[in-house]
């Protein structure tokens, strides 16, 4: 028994040494690398763990039970009740608003972005260069720089304080146009297009029967990026929306936090029972769908789907 486990360990160790030498790491380098990666893992992992555990703890347990510890399942239900108690269950509207705003913007942006990317990549027409340049510029100038003039512009046409004030600007997705353009420019076989044209396909048929079916990975990437940006959007809805029943989750969470006596003693006279664990529950409700999408989407990003967009 002892000898078997001994050789098992020995051969494992030998294999590790072989791997190590293949990566050019010295033994000291291996140890330093491992320790650094572990410290970084704590930096990213501990707050996540804390956030997951916080809704199970009441205020007293948060301070005294140890930061990484479990309270009780029942506390989660209590936290949810506290949240429902805020402004006639405003949280339910925030959740539906978040889903509605995000889905609308994602669907609109993808529908709008793919055809433009396609024509920019496959056709030469007057104004093409201008569209490309404006797209690159608006892609780099962050949208938040324009939020204030956008507010004034939308208030001129009476859209402020309507869902459209959030959905429409968020459907403008120049980075998506750029990705679609690069995708079609590098992956659409031009011979196939020419052949289809000889066979009498018109431009719409070309797009619908050849370009669109080829774009499935592109659609996934676009939807992921757009979903992520819009689900967490704060500045735009914060400026555009006044009624708290119209907020999305990020603005709602900021409102909750500002009305929580535990965080903001200026409101201590209010009788809100909101405590820190309740806020953590909202944070979790916001983060869990994105985390699931993230774990799924990581494959796309690491496999270099984005590589096309930044290649030489």
């Amino acid at each position: 028994m002892r000898t078997i486990s001994g050789t098992g360990f020995g051969s494992w160790w030998k294999q590790q040494q072989l791997h190590r030498r293949r990566s050019g790491l010295s033994l000291g380098g291996t140890v330093i690398r491992f320790v650094l990666l572990l410290i970084i893992a704590l930096f990213f992992g501990l707050p996540l763990l804390w956030l997951v555990l916080a809704p199970t703890k009441n205020e007293d347990q948060l301070y005294n039970l140890g930061s990484i510890s479990f309270g009780s399942w029942g506390r989660i239900g209590e936290a949810w009740d506290h949240l429902l108690g805020f402004n006639n269950a405003a949280i339910l509207s925030w959740i539906t608003n978040s889903i509605f705003y995000t889905l609308s913007s994602v669907i609109l942006s993808v529908i709008i972005v793919v055809p433009v990317g396609y024509v920019l990549a496959t056709m030469r027409f007057p104004g093409r260069g201008l569209i490309l340049t404006l797209t690159l510029i608006t892609m780099i100038v962050p949208a938040s720089a324009l939020v204030l003039p956008l507010f004034l512009e939308l208030s001129l046409v009476g859209l402020v304080d309507t869902p459209w004030a959030v959905i429409l600007p968020a459907a403008f997705f120049p980075f998506g146009v750029y990705l679609a353009f690069i995708y079609y420019a590098s992956s659409l076989p031009t011979d196939l297009l020419s052949a289809a044209k000889v066979d009498g396909c018109n431009e719409w048929q070309l797009f619908q029967q050849i370009a669109l079916p080829l774009a499935v990975p592109l659609l996934g990437l676009l939807a992921f990026l757009s979903f992520n940006a819009n689900w967490n959007n704060f500045f735009l809805p914060f400026v555009m929306l006044n009624q708290d029943t119209m907020y999305n989750l990020p603005v709602g969470l900021a409102t909750l936090a500002a009305n929580t006596p535990a965080l903001h003693p200026a409101f201590a006279q209010t009788d809100s029972p909101m405590i820190k664990g309740d806020l953590a529950l909202v944070g979790l409700i916001m983060s869990i769908p994105v985390a699931l999408v993230f774990i799924f989407a990581q494959r796309f990003i690491v496999s270099g789907s984005l590589a096309g967009s930044v290649k030489e």
Binding site: L37, P47, L263
Partner: protein
């Protein structure tokens, strides 16, 4: 497209109909682009032009008097005592957040890539997932993580001499605090992108260098780093353009840091612009500051487009 035009142009009848076909092609190109062009005008170009107009406009009892202000909004912005400190604050934040972000991401990606094993995939995912905790959630979580009485990092905070959250949440600590928040939720995405780029470095090249006696460190600095240089430039510009827009973090930190409004309402240029517009009704001066932010972003855009030849649009476009 030239090629295909020639190809279809072999027979005579096609040759005759070519101009008409060209018009139809242009027309379909514009039809395909139309919805996007509307959004581009409404939400990209429009607000920028509108900001320019408002910057010359004065407001009397909420009614705009277009071009009545001349340059007074500009002089008001520059002479506003909060303007200088907002610029100073944002500069301080950029000086800390950009190098930390760029070097942090490069180092972590290279460390992960130095040797692939069972735990590297797991760690990469662990670094990536906090990206899901973004915006107000990340800021709220940060307030708890910086509180020595709540935080799992309490021993570290106490080693720095901090006993309560009010010891930590001070004006001079803000740039570092916001940098850490940004790194927590933003770094993972870039690490994944850099890691993906490193996967593209040729295996033969790396093996040859190892045989020549390169250490892992030399491999990382001499071979891998130059290979992902373009991604670093890409991240640098986007991080700069994004970080200069600082708004939500100081605003929410003000609201939730135990009643100390640590940042104040005009900490960053974007906050000052918002405050001028909605608290003082001074849209003209607010527009001047918005324009300034757009200009800085434009500068970044032009550096990318013309300076680094980063987007060589016509080289990649099918022709």
């Amino acid at each position: 497209m030239e090629k295909s035009a020639k190809f279809t142009g072999v027979t005579k009848p096609d040759e005759v109909t070519r101009p008409r076909k060209k018009i139809i092609r242009y027309l379909s190109a514009y039809l395909f682009s139309l919805p996007y062009l509307v959004l581009l005008l409404a939400f990209g170009v429009g607000p920028a032009i509108y900001a320019l107009i408002i910057s010359f406009t004065s407001y009397k009892e909420g009614q705009p008097q277009y071009f009545a202000a001349g340059l007074s909004n500009y002089s008001k912005a520059v002479s506003d005592f909060r303007f200088g400190s907002a610029i100073g604050n944002i500069a301080q934040f950029l000086i800390i957040s950009i190098p930390v972000g760029i070097f942090g991401v490069i180092i972590i990606a290279l460390l992960l890539h130095a040797r692939q094993g069972w735990y590297t995939d797991f760690l990469r995912t662990l670094y990536f997932v906090p990206g899901a905790v973004a915006g107000p959630t990340a800021i709220l979580l940060a307030i708890f993580m910086f509180d020595p009485r709540l935080s799992p990092f309490a021993p570290l905070l106490k080693a720095f001499g901090y006993q309560t959250i009010s010891d930590v949440a001070k004006l001079q600590n803000l740039p570092v605090m916001i940098t850490l928040i940004g790194f927590f939720s933003g770094a993972g995405g870039w690490i994944a992108i850099f890691y993906g780029a490193l996967q593209g470095v040729s295996k033969e090249l790396l093996e040859a260098a190892l045989i020549d006696g390169c250490s892992a460190l030399q491999l990382a600095i001499r071979i891998k780093l130059p290979m992902i240089y373009r991604y670093v430039v890409f991240m640098l510009i986007l991080t700069f353009a994004g970080n200069i827009q600082l708004f939500a973090e100081p605003l929410i930190l003000n609201d939730i840091s135990s009643g100390n409004t640590i940042a104040g309402p005009t900490y960053s240029p974007n906050m000052l612009s918002y405050f001028l517009a909605f608290n003082e009704g001074n849209f003209g001066t607010a527009a001047v500051i918005s324009l300034l932010m757009v200009l800085v972003g434009l500068l970044g855009a032009f550096i990318i487009i013309y300076g680094t030849k980063f987007y060589d649009t016509d080289a990649t476009a099918a022709s």
